[in-house]
């Protein structure tokens, strides 16, 4: 009797464990029954996913093309950059716009998610609009502005030079003023040199060279920072020259 009770209890426990294990079985292990309705729903879901990824990719391309068009406009108004440098950069940007437009057409025609994802990834990997073109053109445009500001300060330095010479002829002590003027001219010359170097440095960079060419962009940015410091110091020298001219 006691043995019968033990067997009954053991059977019950075994049944319970087995039932519990079946419930905990993962979905993939469970027998599948795919109905035509479920298949159609899955297909609809895949199509919707493709459309969503495609729309997002198109949006990213449009954003880049808009930025590139702005860069072309920016290049058009540069004054200190040579026509050849301007033409090279403009051609690069326009080629990029054409390539991205072609990629957009391909993305719009993609029918499987894997190809679409690869094409979307190439928007960043192959074209480097934000990582290369934007800093490259921004550096060139900023260098161009530096050259413009340097020209204004150079005109000022030339005028001050005439004043210093006149004061010297009049018998005034122009030692301090001359020293400041020499420093001003040197700073302006260095600013011009740094700006031109920055333009030349970033001029030949291409998307295929990224990220290897990133240090080149960073070094060009440092050149511009040096040029700005030069111009600020040259401006300080103006005050020094004028003070020097007032001393007897």
């Amino acid at each position: 009797m006691k043995q019968q009770k033990i067997i009954a209890t053991a059977t019950l426990v075994a049944s319970l464990i087995s039932f519990s294990a079946m419930n905990a079985m993962p979905a993939w292990a469970a027998p599948r029954t795919t109905t035509p309705v479920a298949t159609a729903a899955m297909a609809d879901k895949a199509v919707a996913r493709l459309a969503k990824v495609r729309a997002n990719a198109d949006k990213e391309i449009d954003r880049r093309v808009a930025v590139l068009n702005k860069l072309v406009t920016k290049l058009g108004v540069l004054k200190g950059v040579t026509d050849a440098q301007k033409a090279t950069l403009t051609a690069q940007v326009q080629a990029e716009i054409a390539n991205l437009t072609a990629l957009k057409a391909k993305i719009d025609a993609d029918t499987d998610l894997a190809t679409l994802k690869a094409d979307k990834k190439s928007i960043v990997d192959s074209y480097r609009v934000f990582l290369l073109f934007v800093p490259q053109i921004t550096i060139t445009a900023h260098a161009d502005r530096i050259l413009g500001t340097a020209a204004i300060l150079q005109t000022l330095a030339d005028k001050l030079s005439v004043r210093v010479d006149a004061a010297k002829t009049a018998g005034k002590n122009v030692t301090a003023a001359s020293a400041k003027l020499a420093d001003m001219n040197a700073k302006i010359a260095d600013a011009i040199s740094q700006a031109n170097n920055a333009i030349t440095t970033v001029g030949g960079l291409t998307p295929s060279g990224y990220p290897g060419n990133k240090p080149t962009l960073i070094s060009a940015r440092k050149m511009l920072a040096t040029a700005r410091t030069d111009l600020r110091m040259a401006r300080q020298d103006v005050a020094g020259v004028r003070t020097g001219l007032k001393t007897k």
Binding site: K52, V53, N56, E60, K117, K120, K121, I123, V124, F130, L131, V134, P135, T138, I139, H142, R145, I146, G148, T149, I152, L153, T155, L156, D158, K159, L160, V162, R163, L217, I218, R221, L224, A225, R228, L231, R232, R235, V238, R242
Partner: protein
């Protein structure tokens, strides 16, 4: 015959020289040079103006310095754009 030619050749040369020296056409009144506008600078004055010495007065230098300050200030603002241009904008391929 030979004497006749000897007379005709110098005569022809003299006639040709006279024709080239004299004006063949007269300039009509309508094509004559326009009269100068009163007060407008003549070409020679214009040339002199373009080579006029720079204004070296203190007032002009103050103006030049103010222009330089404005450009330098604008340059500083523009440098922020250079720094911002280095910002990365990654794409989520799964989105």
């Amino acid at each position: 015959m030979t004497k006749k030619w000897l007379l005709l050749i110098p005569a022809g040369i003299i006639l040709s020289a006279c024709n080239s020296a004299a004006p063949t056409t007269s300039v009509p009144q309508s094509q004559a040079a326009p009269t100068a506008v009163v007060g407008a600078p003549t070409p020679s004055v214009k040339a002199a103006m373009s080579y006029a010495p720079a204004d070296l007065s203190d007032q002009q230098l103050d103006k030049d310095m103010a222009a330089a300050d404005k450009e330098l200030s604008s340059l500083e603002k523009d440098s922020t754009g250079v720094d911002l241009s280095f910002n990365d904008t990654p794409i989520d391929v799964n989105k």
